[in-house]
Amino acid sequence: MTPKNTDSMEKTKLPDRTDRRAFLLAGLGIATTAVVVMPSSPGNFAARPVERSLKEADFYRPHDRAG
């Protein structure tokens, strides 16, 4: 059985439906190399975005100011 939340080792890439099927079956404890029938991946996330995120974080302060 796949340990808790450990599927990311194979699945740090966006899964297609084949991966999802493999996961679901693995969840049932059934080994599978299925290559089939699942519709598209969850979402249409574009890999490698061109723009760079510059979201400012919350909860920080300059070092010279007391916390």
């Binding site: 808790k4 990311s8 404890g29």
Partner: protein, 326 residues
């Protein structure tokens, strides 16, 4: 050159210009702290709720799950180290998925809940918060799957948009946290109390590592602490360790050890103690604490039978089972 201090987690990293915090993904850019993985997950999946594990929260439903790189712990046994022990730029796969896209996709995939999980959602805090806020407005549930190593002020703010959490308590001694996780236990326990106070449904996981945290002092100690501080109805998941990352010298946890630990936790007064990562172990189903009726029968991550009545009540005695069911 302005050094900044990140106040998100108990590390209080002092980060020089151009540097990153211990988590690798919070970067000082000319005196501004930047959350570099905002909208940039590296792992997106649909999981069963039971995988989180959350056993008393909408059982049997799919949960949209995402993670970015980074973590503020460095556990020697990390199961997701390729994701957690890297910065965003080191990942082979990074996706462009701003909060509104995550929520829209979760809805399109008919997921009623979103999990912030896999690595450590605390370190991509701003992404979690923004997504959770939108998800809540859209009527979705938010679940935090975390080690809970966060300061109180940001945690309280996060709790306002969280519905459930599974907090991975790594062990029950400061020595264990220091040696194995490069962290400390006290803030995690404080965080659990804060979540309870804020009304988040909380379940706790303890990964049992042979010879490291499977002694009665730690298992009983944690169970008693949960009983006293969180309540006897707080589910505790005892998970089986498998060799990973820098702890491949140890064997998987013997099932007997897990069952022994489960009995200790039950003896400490907890009503719901589950054994995870072992299929068909006898400790994965839910029973009514009042009359012992089998309420939810599980096999691995699959629910075989759910006998709960509307509102999560036991069909025999009618008492409500603690949790969130509808």
């Amino acid at each position: 050159m302005t050094t900044v201090v990140c106040e998100l987690c108990p590390r209080y990293c002092a980060i020089p210009d151009g540097g990153a915090g211990d988590c690798r993904i919070r970067v000082n850019l000319k005196g501004r702290l930047i959350a570099t993985t905002f909208g940039r997950p590296s792992s997106v999946h649909i999981d069963p709720m039971e995988k989180k594990p959350l056993y008393h929260f909408f059982p049997g439903t799919p949960i949209f799950s995402l993670a970015t790189a980074g973590c503020n712990l460095h556990c020697l046994n990390c199961q997701n180290w390729q994701l957690s022990q890297r910065g965003g730029e080191e990942m082979e796969e990074i996706y462009h998925a701003p909060p509104e896209m995550i929520v829209a996709t979760a809805r399109a995939e008919r997921c009623q809940s979103i999990a912030y999980t896999y690595s450590e959602p605390i370190v991509y805090y701003e992404y979690v918060h923004a997504t959770a806020q939108l998800a809540r407005e859209a009527g979705l549930n938010n679940c935090l799957i975390s080690a809970g190593y966060i300061n109180e002020r940001p945690l309280r703010q996060l709790c306002r948009v969280m519905d459930a959490a599974n907090i991975d308590v790594k062990g029950f001694t400061e020595d264990f946290y220091r040696r194995i996780c490069s962290a400390t236990l006290a803030p995690v326990l404080r965080g659990l109390v804060v979540m309870r106070e804020e009304g988040v449904w909380v379940e706790v996981t303890l990964l049992i590592i042979p010879g490291e945290n499977d002694d009665p002092l730690q298992v009983r100690g944690l169970a008693r602490w949960i009983h006293d501080e969180m309540g006897a109805d707080t589910p505790l998941h005892l998970s089986r360790f498998h060799p990973h990352y820098r702890m491949q010298n140890l064997p998987p946890t013997p099932v007997d050890t897990l069952l022994r630990c489960r009995q200790m936790a039950l003896d400490a007064g907890l009503h719901f103690v589950y054994v995870g990562n072992v299929i068909g172990n006898g400790g994965e189903s839910t029973y009514c604490p009042h009359d012992g009726t089998l309420l939810i029968e599980r096999f691995g991550l699959v629910i075989k039978e759910n006998h709960l009545l509307a509102g999560g009540r036991c069909p025999v005695c009618g008492n409500p089972l603690p949790g969130v069911w509808t």
